[in-house]
């Protein structure tokens, strides 16, 4: 058992090392991309439309934009090396501080959405696979198709319309917490957890109510791939020789489906869930906008629109690192779930 764990850790370490060149590539690429995009940040951040040439020139110098691109790159890289992601012109704060404030909001939303999606998708996929071609199977397929073809912002708005405007069940969709609730002392940055740690059940409930609609609208979008992959791999699993063996000795239906078929079928779902999570993190800008959620994606979008280089570069670096981390976690999970992996 110990050797298996050791092998997993070693493999994770190797993966982490091998991802460093990719991260560096992402850094340089984003930097260059920002430089070739049209728009002059100096003009944008000058005090007003009437700002004089000298003023713009001065801002440019202050931002270091008068230097050549390779020089700028070297400065940028050495800053990154010292853990300095630069300062946002928009908020006037260091990018690192901005990201640190907003990342938990995004993560909390994405985690919740993924959890909801998995809780819905896996049983749906299993039910569909148990009776392929049946009414249930077609129902699941229809539901998945609907989830995919309705864009997130549309489903988000629909949910707001129904649950906030018509039924009045949900609080107004304005951020992570309504203005009257006092924030708990920050520990993890995940409001639902911080409230629990502070023992404030009422606050926790308020935060959850705020969270549920955006999370559901995001989950709706990713239920489809997860349910489909569960169904497909469950079908393979149910048709496999070892399930036949399990049936041949008369194991109970539950044991055959859950212990034998599903545990094997869940392996590819883990991989897909990792990919889905990474995609959701970056792509949830629409949901964040619709629900005024103070996350990193909407922050990066605002920065991009105002040619604010540092936050965009910081955001991309953050996303790339998260992607690496998520893959690592998936790898470790896979290693634990499948004893065959540590061999290869």
């Amino acid at each position: 058992m110990m050797t298996g764990f050791g092998a997993t850790v070693a493999r994770a370490g190797r993966r982490l090392l091998s991802s460093l060149p990719a991260l560096f590539g992402v850094l340089v690429f984003t930097f260059l991309l920002m430089r070739v995009l049209p728009g002059d940040p100096a003009v944008f951040f000058a005090s007003g439309p009437n700002a004089g040439k000298e003023e713009i020139e001065q801002i440019r110098k202050q931002m270091g934009l008068d230097k050549s691109v390779p020089e700028q790159l070297v400065f940028y890289l050495s800053d990154i090396g010292r853990g300095n992601l630069g300062r946002s012109m928009m908020t006037g704060q260091p990018v690192l501080k901005d990201l640190r404030e907003r990342l938990p909001a995004s993560l909390e939303l994405t985690f919740t959405a993924l959890l909801i999606a998995l809780i819905a998708a896996v049983p749906l996929g299993v039910v569909a696979a148990l009776k392929p071609g049946s009414l249930v199977d077609h129902g699941v397929r229809l539901f998945c198709a609907l989830g995919v073809c309705v864009p997130t912002f549309v489903s988000g708005l629909l949910l707001i319309y129904v649950f906030y405007y018509l039924l009045g069940l949900a609080p107004d969709p304005t951020g992570r917490i309504d203005v009257f609730t006092s924030l708990p002392p920050q520990r993890t940055g995940f409001l639902s957890i911080d409230f629990l740690l502070a023992g404030d059940i009422e606050g926790w409930w308020a935060a959850c109510k705020q969270l549920i609609l955006p999370a559901v609208s995001m989950a709706l979008f990713v239920i489809a791939p997860l349910a489909r992959i569960t169904r497909a791999s469950m079908l393979v699993s149910l048709g496999s020789d070892f399930v036949r063996t399990a049936r041949s000795v008369g194991l109970s239906w539950q044991k055959v489906v859950v212990t034998y078929a599903l545990r094997n079928a869940i392996l590819p779902v883990i991989t897909i869930a990792g990919i889905v999570f990474s995609t959701m993190l970056g792509a949830n800008v629409l949901v964040e906008k619709v629900f005024s959620w103070p996350g990193v994606a909407s922050y990066a979008l605002d920065a991009l629109l105002s040619s604010d280089y540092a936050p965009v570069q910081g955001f991309v670096l953050l996303m790339a690192s998260l992607f690496v981390m998520v893959n690592l976690v998936v790898d470790i999970c896979y290693g634990i779930a499948d004893p065959r992996v540590s061999i290869g």
């Binding site: 020789d241 070892f242 036949r244 063996t245 041949s248 000795v249 008369g250």
Partner: protein
Amino acid sequence: MSEQLLRIDDLHVAFSTRRGTVEAVRGVTLTVEAGEMLGLVGESGSGKSVTGFATTRLLDAAGRVTGGKILFRGQDVTKLRGDDLRHLQGAAMSMIFQNPRAALNPIRAIGLQIADAILTRKRISKDAARAEALELLRAVQIRDPETRMNAYPHELSGGMCQRVMIAIAISCNPALLIADEPTTGLDVTTQKVVMDLVAEISAARGMATILITHDLGLAARYCRRIAVMERGRIVEEASPRTLFSSPQHAYTRRLVAASPTATSRIEDLVTEEERERHAAVVSRPRQELAHGTPPLLEVRKLAKRFDQGAAAVADFSMTMTGGESVGLVGESGSGKSTTSRMICRLIDPSEGEIVFDGQSIGHVASRDFHRSRFRKDIQMVFQDPNESLNPRFTAFDCIAHPLMRLDRIRAGRELRQRVEECAERVGLPLDLLPRFPHQLSGGQKARVGIARAIACRPRLLVLDEPTAALDVSVQAVVLQLLDRLRRENDIALLFVSHDLNVVRMLCDRTIVLRNGGIVEQGESRALFDNPKTDYTRKLVEAIPHIETGPMLAAAL
């Protein structure tokens, strides 16, 4: 007559497929007595496995029993539902399968899997079930059972996995065990050990066994009664002795003839009319080589080491002359496939020299060897005719591909002529050329694979288990074809196989490999009749021979 345990009465099973209903079993009637071992023999598609699955109620969703009865202790199995059915499965009858590794749950420790089976029957604690599982592992003679309890199937060899499978099958003392090709794909020595174990356990527990197999020799060795199936029907049922000495049905006669034995020659394997066609060639004696002719292939001190671990092949030397056939035999993992691939220049040797026709070719990197002028001269026929043909190429394209690549023949009349000539040489009807692999039978695919290999008129043909995936009757025809090609065109054959009977017939000389090294080599007949090493003797003795008669029957 003792107690009748199972009676199958006019059983019909149909499968609904895209192309309509297919009748797999069409009126099977047979009985099994308590404690008896019955052999159910037939080639692929004969419905023998389907009969087994219908009996244990494990048919796919597409399969349906459309008629007849399966009476187990007087109770109709086909009508059981729910708990009655679950009581039947495992407790009353159980099954072991072909491909034991796939038949075990890959992510569950084997001890748990055995305990699962025990716990469905008995209301005992998990620890008690575990202790019982350990006992079963001992019963199936697994060494070091305490540690093996926590092993996963991928950590065990195929033979070990089959023993675990047997442990699961016998965990609840069934009255009937159905063994569906239990040793197909295992080495001959492992095959013998596993079958001996099955026979021993059945005898000790008074368990009746149905042995489903395509191997007449195997059935003859262990069963007192054999039922032969063809296209969903039982065509003959007799004791092995009667079956082999005086087969009644035409199909049985063909099957018996095609099953290679210790003394059979390639000519004996096929029926009269097949033999006539090429009689002239077969009877032509091989021309003696002039003295001092340089060998076609000379391999010196060949070795291959993969990334980590011990050498897969070490210090392998051999020579071959033109038109000679050499067999390379050994158990799985003995390095025979690795060696053949190095000689084919599909992988690079770590050390040693390969000299072909006086030229050293060992140093040419395998990825560049396709440009060498010797690529045409050394061709390969692969094991699985299904996997080794491109599914999007027609038979014509498959054969034409090497001609276009290596002989630089452009598409046109000449190419068509050459392809048709190849097809004729391997006996592939020309109207099959436009077909895709999935539209061809196993034997036809094997012919396409051979036609592709001989298209560029090679001087050395390396065959990696070319008949392992084929039925015996098809194997007989393919072997004859290979032998004819060798005589007609003076192609040297390097024949890699674990089937010693086949090697004995086809090859002049045989090399026995073990753990990457040569154990013994020499003239085939002498080597098999008089093995010098224990290892070779063990291999030879493990072959199920038809002549030896049913061992158990004699003992009883």
